[in-house]
Amino acid sequence: MTKHSTLSRAEGWRRRAPLLPALLFTILVTQVPFLLTVYYSTHSWNLVRPGSWEFVGLQNYLYVFRDSQFREVAMNTVILIVGTVLISALLGLGLALLLNRSFRGRGVVRTLLITPFLITPVAGALLWKTAMFDPVFGIVNFVLQPFGVGNFAWVSQFPLATVMVDLIWRWTPFMMLLILAGLQSMPEDVLEAGRVDGAGPIALFRELTLPHLRRFIELGVVLGAIYLVNTFGAIYMMTSGGPGVESANLPFYIYQRAFLGFEVGQAAAMGVVTVAATIVIAMLALRLIFKSFMGAQEAA
């Protein structure tokens, strides 16, 4: 028995060997930079002031928590994520319900609805900024003209909201697809049982369809949130975080601090705080998903 297990240990390493390069690579490009970031975050280091390298302990962190701009940006990040995810989940639910019934040309409509998700984020953002929201030749103002809207500068008046519009436009198809998959896995006979039991369309939706869709919506919300944490392209293209930091989120603000302000130490401390917060939230969220998917929801 012992002989067998030593043999299988060697065998185990032999089998794992081909994966090692990938593992090393992953450690090299994720864990090493993170450790370096932690290291930098304990130093005061400004790239444009030569000789500014100095160990400061946790001072950068104190600075981060005292920085009112950091707090505003953190708030922006939360609004951006929560608002985008919730609105796109709602829109996705509506579209999925429409797509779940059969009509002529359903395949074409479905493909068209998915396209925003397939367009490069930067291109999409540019499209919204210029083709849609431009004060002079944007389509939005053109459409709203009859209602007395003149050359309204949407992006500079509502910077965060316009960024969110772009993100919602991109994430609604994702939510729609997930929820549509949920709808199509809804057992037909359960709905029929509901109908025979006296439920009208609204009661059927509320009592049977929505509970079934819950896990799909949760999955969409969590996955969407994870991706939206590091939104960068849309903000960079549409508002550059401005005016001030009104439409900046954490990654963008950190980028500004590190590469425009050259405050490496402070930016590193912000990065560490962001990563820590993200990990905590992501863990809670992932646990929620696993619970609802593993939980014995399924009846045979």
């Binding site: 029929e192 049982a193 006296g198 399924e298 009846a299």
Partner: protein, 376 residues
């Protein structure tokens, strides 16, 4: 309490060439338990779903208590349905499942709980009321599905093969429970099954369907004793009735070397229809095993021992109708013969059934046809 009437009701699925249910006419009395039976694809489920409002009635109509049901949505028909896969609501507990219809009807929570507990008591489900369906065994799920139906006290129960997912023993047990429950509640019930034993044991009357068409609608014993055609004859009874081609002679019909005598008026009917050959139906228990030479000589292909009795599968030795004429006989003795052995089979009690060789319709003498009212 309700009467049900199908009046030449048809259902044609989109894209299908033939209607799944073809001009079905049935009248079900108040409190009656009727069974729809037939082979797979014969339209049993469709007929039931038309009654429940889950399929359109494309032609004709269905009435409940004389009220026309065409265009009435399921939720307004006051029907409870038990589905083959139970279709329990996965996100609700057993109690919520059973109380769902009451909730939809606006019954207050306390009253709902009381009725659910009462039904749970009846079905031995009291310990499971707070569990989700996924954590129940197959038999318990089946009982929850039944409970969901009886809590409502509906006008009609519809059941579509509710026992087909249970193991053989539980099925027999549940079969008697359902029948007893229905007698006790007195609710008109339409029950679909492909299992003719269920049909025979549970139904007050049984409707046999084939290709969407009603073949016969009668009490189980009548189906067994006087099937209206060869299809019903072969479908009802296990093992199936022997249906063999035979020549018509002046005294009766000829099977192998021997002649089975027929009454004079049936012979007259055969001659009137100018038939030279017919399909003869003999139930396995109508054939006695006797020593070779004393009856129809057959060679044994297989002996099925069931313990209390045995079935002998055999083929005619001197076969004029082709080598494929097979017969099954029931014997009360064990091991009535060995494989390959030649034995005799003699027609014992009960008269033989005679069917038209092409249409399969039953052929009776005047006297008989007057006595047996066909259900079609």
């Amino acid at each position: 309490m309700a009467t049900i009437a199908y009046q030449t009701a048809s259902c044609l699925y989109e894209g299908a060439a033939n209607p799944a249910v073809d001009r079905l006419t049935l009248e079900v009395d108040d409190g009656e338990f009727i069974v729809l039976v037939g082979p797979s694809g014969s339209g049993k489920s469709t007929a039931l779903r038309m009654l429940a409002g889950l399929e359109d009635i494309d032609e004709g109509n269905i009435t409940i208590n004389g009220k026309d049901m065409v265009g009435v949505p399921s939720k307004d028909r006051d029907i409870a349905m038990v589905f083959q896969n139970y279709a329990l609501y996965p996100s609700m507990t057993v109690a919520e499942n059973m109380g769902f219809a009451l909730k939809m009807r606006g019954v207050p929570a306390g009253e709902r709980r009381r009725q659910v507990e009462q039904a749970a008591e009846l079905l031995d489900l009291s310990d499971f009321l707070d569990r989700k369906p996924a954590k129940l065994s197959g038999g318990q799920r089946q009982r929850v599905a039944m409970g969901r139906a009886i809590v409502r006290e509906p006008q009609v129960f519809c059941m579509d093969e509710p026992l087909s997912n249970l193991d053989a023993k539980l099925r027999v047990q549940t079969r008697t429970q359902i029948a007893a429950l229905q007698r006790r509640l007195g609710t008109t019930t339409v029950y679909v099954t492909h299992d003719q034993v269920e049909a025979m044991t549970m139904g007050d009357r049984v409707a046999v369907l084939k290709d969407g068409k009603l073949q016969q609608f009668a009490a189980p014993t009548e189906l067994y004793d006087a099937p209206v055609n060869a299809f019903v004859a072969g479908f009802i009874g296990s093992p199936a009735m022997n249906l063999v081609p035979a020549l018509v002679t002046s005294e009766g019909v000829q099977l192998g070397e021997s002649t089975l005598p027929l009454e004079r008026d049936r012979l007259a009917a055969l001659h009137r229809q100018e038939l030279s050959s017919v399909t003869v139906g003999l139930r396995p228990e109508q054939l006695e095993v006797v020593p070779a030479g004393q009856g129809i000589d057959v060679r044994i292909d297989l002996v099925e021992e069931l313990g209390s009795e045995s079935y002998v599968h055999a083929h005619l030795v001197d076969d004029r109708g082709g080598a494929s004429t097979r017969l099954v006989a029931r014997s009360h003795r064990r091991a009535p013969g060995r494989l390959g052995e030649t034995i005799g089979l003699r027609h014992g009690a009960g008269s033989v059934h005679v069917f038209h060789p092409d249409t399969g319709a039953r052929i009776d003498g005047e006297e008989m046809s007057a006595r047996v009212g066909t259900g079609v």
